[in-house]
């Protein structure tokens, strides 16, 4: 009787270790699958918003160049030294917000921080390089913490001259 009890004790120990390991492995992989899916879901949303914000940066530079033309100024004279920042509600390009996030308030992203503003964690910087007198290469970079930055580049020509 004592021999049988001893024999069975050992088996139970090994069996339970194996069973617990298998259960743990299954649980951990299932959990990582869920957390990965959630992470990608958030990342897809952030990238969608970020890419439109980057495109917005390019468009506002286009507007600045058009304004130079409308005002009869030298084409490209409204672009400050790079990197600079632009937002839809800022009349001119600014260089004071380098590395600062855009503030989200009532649907819009800008550098104006009011009481209800939330840090959007999107950082947008614009780089403009003049290639000759009538061509500007513009690059808009949106940085989101923990993700690869979104970079959009465009070239503008002084075709209205």
């Amino acid at each position: 009787m004592s021999r049988r009890a001893k024999h069975n004790e050992g088996q139970i120990m090994i069996e339970s270790i194996v069973a617990i390991s298998i259960a743990l492995t299954a649980l951990v992989s299932a959990l990582s699958l869920v957390s990965n899916s959630l992470h990608y879901n958030t990342e897809a949303d952030q990238k969608l918003v970020g890419s439109h914000l980057a495109a917005e940066g390019i468009e506002i530079v286009r507007d600045l160049l058009d304004r130079d033309f409308a005002a009869g100024a030298v084409w490209g004279s409204s672009l400050p030294p790079s990197p600079f920042q632009v937002s839809y509600d800022t009349a001119a390009a600014i260089t004071t917000q380098n590395g600062n996030p855009l503030w989200y308030n009532n649907g819009t992203y800008s550098y104006q921080q009011v009481g209800t503003s939330i840090n959007s964690h999107f950082i947008r910087n614009i780089t403009a390089t003049k290639i000759g007198a009538n061509e500007v290469s513009v690059s808009s970079t949106v940085t989101i913490a923990g993700m690869d930055p979104i970079v959009i580049e465009d070239h503008f020509y002084n075709w209205r001259q």
């Binding site: 299954a26 969608l48 506002i60 009532n106």
Partner: protein, 205 residues
Amino acid sequence: MKIIKDNGGFTILELMVALTVFSIAMSIISGLFIQTLHTQKILAAAIESSSNTSLMLEQLSREIRLGYNFTTSTNSCGPLLTDFSSGIAFRRFRGAGTAVVVYEWNKTSSTLARTEEMGATAEVTSENVMANRICFRVTQNGSAGNPWLITIVGNISPRNLGVEGRGANLETTISSRVLPSDISSIATCPAGWSARFPQYSTCPF
């Protein structure tokens, strides 16, 4: 015979404990698996919805880029929860003449609709896109001679998945290719405009 008797089977207690442990483990794992499948479904719908949203914004951008004399409805981009509709109206070149184009967001149906030349209204958001909010801002920084800058603000999510409230807060801006100095004459307002679109305080045309 002795060996068989030794391994003669589990007691009912052992069996019950084993079954309980097994069923608890299985229910946790299957719950997680179902959750993963659900997340996967939402993810697929989110990808589809965001590509449809991009397509809608692309169409909108293309038309705005060629438009001029922009005006927004009086309540466009007002405080949240007070805007029940918002829209933008503008003119764009069409053949030898010009056409009046209106984009209107409807809060009740969470859609964006387009009207051209006082004609029939057609939805531009696809069926799986829920436009929780779309509004427009028109900026002409500096003076009236400056180019139009149109900012589109939106909160978009996939439809019918229980995640409507967690949409992405989109914003993008489009600069019109038509400058105020390019417009030679301002056309007159279409007949019946103020009756059909009373939310635009003044006729922009």
